[in-house]
Symmetry: C2
Subunit: 192 residues, 2 copies
């Protein structure tokens, strides 16, 4: 099975992945008694493709959070990588994915960052979503999905309820309906 | 127990209660084998307070969906009620709520409509939320919570998972922390 393109992300009930000015203070500390599945998710990840905003936030953390996993940062601006595993990529979603895919092989590609995720959804390149809902309304900030160009149907896979108050929703993304093939014109129209 | 102020609403994964141009076609038909709790919710409702946009959509339905329940429509524009139970109200959230409360007595007031719900959240007048997540990303439309002025912490009450793919989240709204009362200055400071 070829690797999937996956999203694993937390958002507020109103769909923001960061509050105003990149505020992440509303994200709860992980409860040590709860397994949100991140370790298992990362174990299946061969490469991470993230937006520039997400990278800039992660690069400011005291410790680089992605270990040895290759990280591709979607950006057309100069990038000074904080780790040897970090490379800049640019171009269409399909082109950036091809670069990450070469590195990931049959493992999954982990997509991160609101704008990047939306552009990949619009390009029909996302296989599934793991969204952890945090019980808070932020009111404003960086949206996760709002802003996609087209409606996107989802297939519910699983919902996990955590005693801490988090709800984790797992969805498959329905591939866009293929465009109807150009129909061959039949020589005669049948009235039957 | 005095009646609560409650929200019972469906939204897309990206937090919209209607798509562009009031599109509601993404809302699934209720599954007859699933009880989403609406009948129980309405049984505890003494009055409905809804925004003008929500009213205009509901007024266009083939049948008025709210039976004998008194409905107050928040609007400052002229209103031709489609039912004898419908009245226009205006003013602050507190003033409109007082009007609905007089009719609802000890029963609950059911708040409906994105802008109205947001203004009541900002006024600290909502007790709890029942949000049914539909497995779809709309990308644009009428937001449910995005646009509130302040961050709003929620208390998870219950999550219900339906085989059809809907996930219903129930939250209490945390009352805003009371402003610290003016502390009486003690005559002497104790070092104990």
């Amino acid at each position: 099975v070829a690797g999937r393109v996956r999203v694993f992300i937390a958002c507020s009930l109103d769909g923001f992945i960061a509050g105003a000015e990149d505020d992440l203070s509303w994200l709860p500390e992980p409860d040590p008694n709860e397994d949100y599945g991140y370790a298992a998710f990362i174990a299946e990840t061969g490469a991470i493709l993230m937006g520039r905003g997400t990278y800039d936030v992660a690069a400011g953390f005291p410790e680089w959070p992605y270990g040895d996993t290759p990280v591709y940062v979607a950006t057309s601006r100069p990038l000074e990588p904080v780790a040897k595993t970090v490379k800049a990529v640019k171009g269409t979603p399909g082109k950036m994915l091809a670069t990450a895919r070469r590195k990931a092989g049959d493992d999954d590609v982990y997509l991160d960052g609101g704008a990047l995720i939306r552009s990949f959804l619009d390009a029909g390149l996302v296989d599934d979503l793991v969204v952890t809902l945090v019980p808070v309304i932020l009111g404003s900030g960086a949206p996760l999905f709002a802003g996609t160009a087209a409606r996107q149907a989802l297939v519910p896979h699983e919902t996990r309820i955590f005693p801490s108050g988090l709800t984790q929703l797992r969805y498959g993304v329905v591939p866009a309906a293929p465009k109807p093939a150009a129909r061959r014109r039949s020589r005669k129209r049948s009235d039957a």
